[in-house]
Symmetry: D2
Subunit: 338 residues, 4 copies
């Protein structure tokens, strides 16, 4: 941590900063410039310490970090890339893993049809929402536990892993029983009470990026999941909130390169929620694979016109099939398969 | 809802939109322009309906709302401004209600000292965090239930209402037992599972604005709280996430005017979390009162240097006292007291 | 344009809106809902009219557009995709056009070396800054007219077109004399005085997206360039300003799909300025090609360590050569060449 | 500047950073932590130097600033607050200066009526647009030089200073002849060619904040104006671009406190362009005065329904008069007059 003293800071104020840092067990080095004094506070634990502890002291102008605030998710902590194994499907390995299915589970037949269709096209995992966190209380909220059972039967019949969202602590165990990957939604990325409970599980977790979370905050949230030893964490970029209004969220594909540099965790991309419109999904899906994403999360519905949730952003079977065919040469162009 | 058809949309496509709307029970009026056909879908329930239901149909170019997606929180639904009564303290009435106290409860003596001090300066409610949702798992997470008991004893001794945050469903009842107002934090504004449970209570709720929530989304989240009949909802503006980096969050004071126009709910302002630095709190607090806020939520600590959480943004007793003295003439200038 | 009247609007207020619209020559259709009256104002010229003209009238709740505010840049106006021919290099055709070179021209030898190197790797156009709009007045401002002459000599020697930025009206003609494409920088996207002058030229213009411009505003700025008949406009996505701080700007690749749907103009991508760091450029460049971009604008410097401007985001010759090799199969995967 | 070396950086890489810094004339201090080496580069000129110069060197993880990138606009450079004297009206002194008038000059009679009305209510300066930078080329672009002459005659008749926008270098002298303050619009805040020319003048300049400019970038743009000795610079906050869609721009009143702390320049606030709707202007105007703004810039029109530009955000005479009466006690509450 680097503490910049104000131009007119007194020697006593500098000493006060030094004492505080040494009290906390850090090394300190002083840099006396002609205009300002700079105090370097060093040690591997400084990343875990709030900069406020020093910023609040008299005579301090500003404090900046040297160590990142996340640790367990960092590549410095674990230089080898993590591969999450979901019943034999490896996320973070050479294969680009496509997860596809309906936004919400609507009934068993439709789920089965969709799961079969996406599997036939090359999807490796099936998605389907059981608990639906909706912006409005008047919207369809999901079939909840009934949907979990449908997902469970589909995975048994088709032999394909399934992912679904968990929205509260109370339902963690039942979701974990029926699903292979537990998804934490964007709006819950900093629901720390939920993250702490999930951290105790030994189950793959898909952590969606919060809609206004920086990559640093996202990786720090991942630290919550990793804190109790669960290391099966998959990140999912799904677009961020910006001023742009032609799409629902602005897909931030630069996060792929940033995560690959600073973290060991695999990262997949959800083009459906970012675009908010099926017309823009294929372009973003292709871009994500070219950018180096480890997988995709794509909404598919047999008849988007009839979908109860997010039909506008869902691909139908023919467009999904076409997209999968188009993705294959791109995956190969970046040295991967699909 | 206004459905704009594409320039080359066929008559069959227009009819399809009309049928869908009529099937849902809406009135429809067709507008045939020289370039485009526009379908107006009318009725008081259209606000509750997703625009996607029409946007997904073939030949549709775009869909825009006429009715707002929130209903119960709207001034159209309830033209009279709501006043929330918290043990005799009215929020939304002529008095500007100042809520003050430490970010986190650290120990009982310090809480009592702070509560006494802020009460003596004119604060009407005491705040204190028991469960602390922290960005990093390595940060202090609050004294939890012990803190609730301390808050409870302070309110009994001083006869002043208290507010504290609730972070999960499991602890709703115990928080409701010890606190007069339950706060939903910014990161939980769209934790719909939590909101649904709180809606069943008969207890004032302070709903902080999500850090990237539009005012419309915020009022739609308030609809979740209001849906089961609890009408004691107080909104709290606390700054939004933007590109500006000289403060922690950009205080959006235009939300005060917007809410007063479109909603009947009272709205207070938290300058401490927005600023992130005590030096900027007084300026924002004064601005909030002048803008028409119904109250303020201010962090105060006997010794910010020693605070376990957010010391940098906390006022000490003398600066809080000075601010309260400065706020009084501003409140009077806008026809209120403090 | 759709004018939504307030719930309690009088018949006189509705009539007033109708009169105003008819006075402006528009068709009007009235929709009387049970709760609200909606006035549809139709006609191909409504897109050019400010919504404020109606929003300001008494009894009006809100006004929304049906027609987009841009016209000449729209695909409705010109359904066939525009191909800009720059001395034989087609931008917007099947070839993905790579434009490469130094951020700023530093001296003739270095420019010539760089131009030769990027041409050898497959770049079709050379870039080089002569006038440099810098955030700080203390930074290097470019070699100005000397740089223009160097660019001119390089294009003659190597037979390759060049692009450089024009920053004021005064220098338009001299820039047009020495360069094949005139670039309008992001900070000048809404410098309308400059756009109006450029509109009178018969010269390809590269219009960078403003750092906080929506796609709609960007296309409306393009309308300024197209207004006098110059139809040789190339758009350039270069990242938008968001809260994310791990890169300089957040690359918005969803704009590619949006532009391809709503506009006929070609669009290229500048990954260098978005990333701000050479480590992230290859990932974004590949993503852009996969997303359907018509070209790339990449900064290359023989020795980024020594660059006077933006060295951090410049590729050196070996990394550029490697990137070009990696881009080829991606271009082929999307049915194009490079 | 603080250079953080990567964990595995070699001693040679550290030495390379040191040599580069010493070559540029800076002092260097090395801090060897157990995990990382940190190089402190000190000296008053480091603020003017790009961080990229060091970030690009091998073995460097990141570089952060200690000195701010602006110098002349900083309070460190000039501890005394600047007061700009505009023909006897002091901006930055005890009086809150209200500048009011129409968005665009439409005709002389209407301008004179408006100027007289706002002067009678206490406005100290009259505004009126001559050159109008409009988002769409199809919108009214202003009366240009005719409007300048009208402004000139109004100031002579009423004895009140006037402000108008300058949009290009070509017209600087004529605008300076007819107006007392030259306004640089938000979209030109980083039109550095224009700023450089204005810097040569001895004339007050009103520098509006760019719509996505940080306060730091804004003050750095002010450095361009101050670089040639012109010290009559007034800043104007006018809202920033965010995701919020209920107002045109999000007014960032935290900038007032930040500027007062870090800069000596006066700062005024334009609530009209931020709100985009007259209903929200009074609340924001009052908040701005309470926050400590040195003045206001408010759009007033005799009949907003008839305004050619931005009628929706203009106050009419009675609402402006009412607002001025409401502002007076707020100004007094913060120890100022109006």
């Amino acid at each position: 941590m680097i503490v910049e003293m104000a131009k007119n800071a007194s020697r006593e104020q500098v000493d006060h900063v030094v004492e505080r840092a040494e009290f906390l067990g850090f090394e300190v080095q002083l840099n006396f410039g002609t205009e300002k004094t700079v105090v370097a506070i060093l040690g591997s634990e400084t990343g875990k310490t709030s900069t406020d502890i020093f910023a609040v002291l008299p005579g301090v102008e500003s404090v900046s970090r040297v160590m990142k605030p996340y640790k367990l998710a960092s590549r410095e902590f674990n230089p080898r890339s993590t591969v999450v194994n979901v019943r034999g499907v490896e996320i973070g390995g050479p294969r680009v893993v496509v997860i596809a299915g309906p936004c919400a589970v609507e009934n068993e037949q439709r789920l089965m049809d969709t799961a079969s269709a996406v599997k036939a096209c090359g999807a490796a995992v099936v998605r389907g929402g059981a608990f639906k966190p909706r912006t409005s209380p008047f919207s369809f909220q999901g079939l909840e536990k009934d949907a979990l059972k449908m997902l469970s039967r589909v995975r048994t019949k088709l032999g394909i892993p399934v992912v679904t969202e968990v929205v509260d602590i109370e339902n963690i165990l039942i979701v974990a029983k029926h699903a292979d990957i537990l998804q934490v939604g964007a709006r819950n990325m900093q629901n720390f009470a939920l993250l702490k409970e999930l951290s105790k599980l030994n189950h793959p977790i898909l952590l969606k990026r919060g809609l206004s979370a920086t990559v640093t905050e996202w990786l720090t949230a991942a630290d919550y999941l990793l804190a109790e030893g669960n290391n099966q964490v998959i990140l999912c970029e799904r677009g961020i909130r910006t001023f742009e209004d032609s799409v629902r969220f602005s897909m931030d594909l630069s996060s792929i390169g940033v995560i690959k540099r600073f973290s060991h965790l695999p990262v997949i991309v959800d083009p459906s929620h970012a675009a908010g419109h099926s017309a823009f999904v294929p372009s973003l899906a292709k871009a994500a694979v070219a950018a180096g994403a480890d997988g995709l999360l794509i909404e598919v519905h047999p008849n988007p016109e009839e979908a109860l949730v997010d039909g506008l952003q869902s691909l139908n079977f023919p467009t999904f099939e076409k997209l999968m065919a188009e993705l294959k040469p791109i995956a190969e162009a970046v040295g991967r398969s699909i």
